[in-house]
Subunit: 283 residues, 2 copies
């Protein structure tokens, strides 16, 4: 359990940072909020989620845990510029959706008396801003701790405790490599597919003919255009390989349609039905 | 409104045929059910959805409207073999999901005293069989009447009335060409995508890391493997063109990732977000 004497700073009070502030406050912790937008800080104070807040990085000077909820590039830059403000022995964590490059960059310059433990709460949304902050959706979501061989057991445990304090439904541990491979398929490829399906042509005149299938498939085509290009680029090796593999598989199916290969298609449909069955929620 | 003196036959008491029998019975019509499976007929009788039923095509001899709920190929063969049993002046309709070829084939041999008006209720499911029959889902679904220039106004009106009697949420009229083009994109391409995503590799070990996005995107990968290969082949020109266009669009996006073209990606994401917004349900 997270020690309630620990003082926590959240850097960036957006959708996820705001949700973290709320959740950690609700768990009985003292939270400090940093954001360059005074209205986000004022909102968090007004909601009672943070005790102190502002745009001044030196506010984190007495914080034991500093969690960045910034976009990846901004996160790296912010730590680089402000690591002088950290308390000695502080733990640094984050919420970025892609890991290898971010971990490598942070660790290349981080002060030796600060430990960085990387985390990925898989609870994004298409909305932006603290006014959409909400901890309810953590319950059904995954919280992934992404340690390297440099991390201490204590830091890994604290990261786990943060996920628990926020009531994430499933907490797991992955290496940076396994994490980025998984994200390239489960999250990034699916977003590229949904976006491409909306962009292939202006089919909005078909709105009256679309059922739940089409809506479900394209829901994630509503996407934060500031964040995702960064995430795609930071994982481009995995993502490009996934797009290529998917394209080959789709071309294989197209060939079966073209050849009128009923048996081949049937085998593909049986396999997809069986595999997809394993993803049905048990509840 | 559908005249309740009309006698209706449903050919094929599966998921959709059973749902039709139930819905038309509930609307006050006399329904005859034909199926080669005695247990399906017995079930429909037991539920009170049909008054007469069996595997004998001559049971339709006094029916004013004959609706086939068979798969496309079986539908064409069944009519070819049994059109001698139809009452003179009867109206023939169907539920097949692809239209141009089916309409062309039926009309190439249909008796001149029978009129065929093609319909597509967009209310399929991944389950099979009359035990899943259910009219509730018609309320949110589309019913499409697909007339040709040969059809009479009276037949088009009756088709419309059938959709209304079954309480479909939205009834519209499309030409066979426009219907098949729309279906190639909205329904068939999306199923090929979902199936290919499940088949590209065995990713079932990732089940713990998948959220609603992945589940939504692949839900339709659970698919009736007997029906869909037929539908794909019957619309192969449209479907292959849609797969090709989609592949080109995805490759375009891949190139932007590869080039780290943030502005290009951002424009694509803004466009997809905006277009997808138009598909949000108003309720």
């Amino acid at each position: 359990m997270l020690n309630s004497n620990k003082k926590i700073a959240i850097i960036g009070l957006g959708l996820l940072g705001g949700s973290y502030a709320k959740g950690l406050h609700d768990a009985g912790l003292q939270v400090t909020g940093i954001d360059i937008d005074p209205s986000a800080v004022a909102y968090a104070k007004q909601m009672g989620w943070i005790e102190e807040g502002g745009d001044d990085p030196s506010l984190i000077a007495d914080c034991d845990i500093v969690i960045s909820a910034l976009y990846p590039r901004t996160f790296v830059e912010w730590v680089h510029r402000n690591q002088k403000c950290f308390k000695s022995g502080a733990l640094l964590s984050d919420v970025t959706g892609v890991k290898r490059k971010v971990i490598e960059e942070i660790n290349s310059f981080l002060r030796k008396d600060i430990e960085y433990i990387s985390c990925h709460p898989m609870a994004g949304r298409e909305y932006k801003g603290i006014r959409y902050a909400d901890t309810d959706r953590f319950i059904a979501a995954n919280f992934i701790v992404v340690p390297t061989s440099e991390n201490t057991e204590a830091a890994i445990q604290t990261a786990h405790d943060i996920g628990e304090a926020l009531h994430f439904g499933h907490i797991s541990v992955l290496t940076p490599e396994a994490h980025d491979r998984m994200i390239g398929f489960v999250s990034q490829l699916t977003h590229v597919i949904a976006v491409s399906l909306m962009n292939v042509s202006d089919n909005t005149h078909l709105v009256d003919y679309t059922g739940d299938s089409f809506r479900d498939l394209t829901r994630i085509a509503k996407i934060n255009e500031s964040l995702w290009p960064e995430l795609f680029i930071l994982n481009k090796d995995n993502l490009i390989r996934e797009i290529d593999d998917f394209t080959v598989e789709m071309q294989r199916f197209k060939q079966m349609i073209s050849d009128e290969d009923i048996d081949g298609m049937r085998a593909k449909l049986i396999q997809s039905t069986e595999r997809r069955g394993k993803f049905d929620r048990k509840d």
